[in-house]
């Protein structure tokens, strides 16, 4: 099909979002499903490779549509996830939540198709400012503060990115969003990387993720888990591929997430820590930078969006139906929510890279790339983290919610049952895709940016995977007592800015304000009082004797001033005397200097 112009998919979402409040009644649900479907079709069928939508603003050329294999694979899965997420949230009556979610996805898509850093920044900010609403809409007491922290952290990240590309613009005159020279990194290269890794939640800039995703609305979290971090991975793959420091950062990330997940009591926060862990693989993949590694990062992102969404949908259903998300308040639910259990289990098996599921054909590409480049420590450590992944999401989450000790209160037990049809349909769609990708690898592999020469279903790979997974399960069941959930929270690096923020505010309130008030009072103490004394001294000085400018001005000022019928006008004359003194002394100094 020959297409010369291109409709930016974000436009479809934004227009849909703005029209939504006007559509009521029966057509509303159809409309809610229609818009994401249209967006998906636009990306899938009507987006040929090339550069589109170039706009000239002032001195710059902004490119809104840069379409190639890399952006298409991300655009495809994101719009697909938008459909699934919207279906999952079909029951939400509040239009504003849908609008916020669609603006958020529009921001993601805009960032993915951006051709230069200014456009990227525009959509980056759009993502941050719209997703924060998904946290605020939860409406709990702590939601406000969590959203505020989220906003501040993301603004800071955006500013670091802005600083980076402004410096780059000055150094190279180039704003285009392409691969930077990662073998000779400059300050600006690092700054841009830092801005991107903040959104990717790389430690130490990661604390916002469990904080916010644990506090988002049930449907909001499904959107949030898919978009911010993956857009950041796309941006890293685009501009920082092969940057060596990303490999250790990614590995540390993968392990860090796993460790904190062991300690976590809230199931959605645990999944959030897992996002950090899985994105660590992608970051490491980008860092390795070979064709296989980039393919792996993209494939993993693709699969992750689906299975993480599925997991959040599963745990979100539990939260939606029972109002609880902590392990210490759940357990034994398989009798009441069996379908949710199966969907969550599929998600867990996918993320653990069980054969026949999507993770098996995607995550291993990154590890294989690591081994091929002989970065052996990365390969082994990432495999170790895989064991941890299965431990948490494949075993711990399903076990402690659906089996194990029943910590449910009577009320919770009463409320628990499988969620409404739309949520189940959405979960079903995601599950189907997870299995489909795992079995029919060509579906995903054909979309990857680089040619694929990887065959996951070798006997060795199968044997290796099954051994790791099943023996991890052995360890889990043997040590299950040690894993009993405890009702605690874990302190993380956000301690610094949470406590630090309070200290800063205290400092603004007490000492600084005190100083400012003092300075203000100086005018009274040092200004008025001596003024009166000096004015008395000068009162015999006949200001008629001073010719020229000062006189004329003083006269006109007094004339206008006399219309001001309040007692303070008298001070104007005293001010004049004071000023005349200064003027006189200056003149004398100048003349005699």
């Amino acid at each position: 099909m020959m297409i010369d112009s291109w409709l930016h998919p974000s436009l479809i979402l934004i227009c849909g979002a703005l029209l939504l409040p006007f559509i009521k009644g029966m057509p509303r649900r159809a409309f809610l499903v229609l818009i994401p479907v249209l967006t998906f079709i636009d990306i899938w069928q009507f987006s040929p490779h090339g550069t589109f939508a170039v706009v000239n603003v002032m001195d710059w050329q902004l490119t809104f549509g840069r379409i190639d294999r890399l952006s298409q694979v991300f655009g495809y899965i994101m719009s697909l996830m938008c459909i699934i997420g919207t279906i999952y949230g079909l029951h939400v009556k509040d239009d504003l939540q849908h609008i916020a979610a669609w603006f958020y996805v529009a921001g993601s898509l805009g960032a993915i198709y951006a051709g230069d850093y200014l456009v990227l920044f525009l959509f980056w900010e759009l993502m941050a400012f719209s997703s924060v609403f998904l946290v605020w809409f939860r409406g709990r007491e702590q939601s406000l503060a969590t959203g505020y922290r989220y906003l501040l952290v993301h603004t800071a990240g955006g500013l670091i990115l802005l600083c980076g590309f402004v410096l780059r613009y000055k150094a190279t005159g180039d704003l285009s969003f392409t691969l930077m020279d990662v073998t000779h990194p400059q300050l600006y290269t690092y700054l841009i990387m830092c801005g991107l890794i903040l959104n990717a939640a790389v430690p130490p800039l990661h604390s916002w993720l469990p904080d916010a995703y644990g506090e988002a609305t049930v449907t909001g979290a499904v959107f949030m888990c898919a978009f911010t971090t993956k857009t950041a991975i796309y941006a890293l793959a685009r501009s920082c591929a092969g940057m060596e420091i990303l490999v250790p950062l990614g590995v540390v990330m993968a392990l860090y997430g796993v460790v904190y997940a062991v300690l976590e009591n809230d199931c959605r926060r645990l999944l959030a820590w897992h996002i950090i862990s899985q994105v660590g693989y992608m970051v490491a993949g980008v860092g390795i930078g070979t064709e296989l590694a980039i393919n792996g990062a993209c494939a993993h992102a693709f699969a992750h969006i689906l299975y993480k969404g599925l997991l959040f949908m599963g745990c979100g259903s539990v939260l939606h139906m029972t109002g609880k998300s902590k392990f210490t308040e759940l357990g034994g639910l398989y009798k009441k929510m069996p379908r949710t259990f199966v969907f969550t289990l599929i998600g867990g098996l996918s993320i653990s890279a069980f054969p026949l599921f999507s993770g098996f054909v995607s995550k291993s590409m990154i590890i294989a790339a690591g081994f091929e480049e002989h970065i052996l420590w990365a390969g082994f450590l990432l495999t170790l983290a895989s064991a941890g992944t299965f431990l948490h999401t494949g075993l711990k989450v399903p076990y402690f919610i659906w089996f194990g000790k029943n910590n449910c209160s009577d009320e919770t037990w009463e409320k628990a049952e499988d969620p409404p049809w739309n949520m189940q349909v959405a979960m079903g769609m995601a599950s189907f895709l997870c299995i489909f990708i795992g079995c029919y690898t060509a579906y995903l592999y054909d979309m990857l940016p680089n040619p694929v020469d990887y065959h996951p279903y070798t006997a060795y790979h199968l044997s290796e995977t099954m051994q790791i997974l099943l023996f991890t399960a052995l360890g889990f069941f043997l040590l299950i007592k040690k894993l009993t959930p405890e009702p605690t929270i874990s302190i993380d690096l956000d301690w610094f800015y949470r406590k630090g923020g309070r200290a800063f505010l205290w400092m603004a309130k007490k000492p600084l304000q005190f100083i400012d008030t003092c300075v203000g009072e100086i005018y009274r103490v040092i200004g008025l009082v001596p003024l009166m004394t000096v004015a008395g001294f000068w009162s015999w000085f006949d200001w008629h004797a001073i010719d020229g400018v000062v006189d004329g001005v003083a006269r006109s000022v007094r004339c206008i001033g006399s219309s001001v019928r309040h007692a303070q006008s008298g001070q104007l004359q005293y001010n004049i005397f004071w000023a005349v003194t200064i003027a006189a002394s200056l003149l004398l100094t100048y003349v005699f200097a």
Partner: protein, 85 residues
Amino acid sequence: MIVELIDYLRDRLKSVIKICYGVLASLVVIDAIPSIVDKHHAHTWVEHYPGFWALFGFVACVLIIILSKWFGHQGIMTREDYYDD
């Protein structure tokens, strides 16, 4: 239907566990047979040992659990209202 299946398995828990142990053992055995599992693509020499990955998985799991819990109990885990004023 799902519930029935799960209840069926739970009632026969002892036999399910025996089957699982059997599967685990056969995995290690299969790994040792070169004609089924072809290891010449392996990147390191350790991988040629049969059951290497089984040991790796088990040790990894145990390590993660023990180390993380130790780390947590050093003071990272704290009461739920720690940040509230």
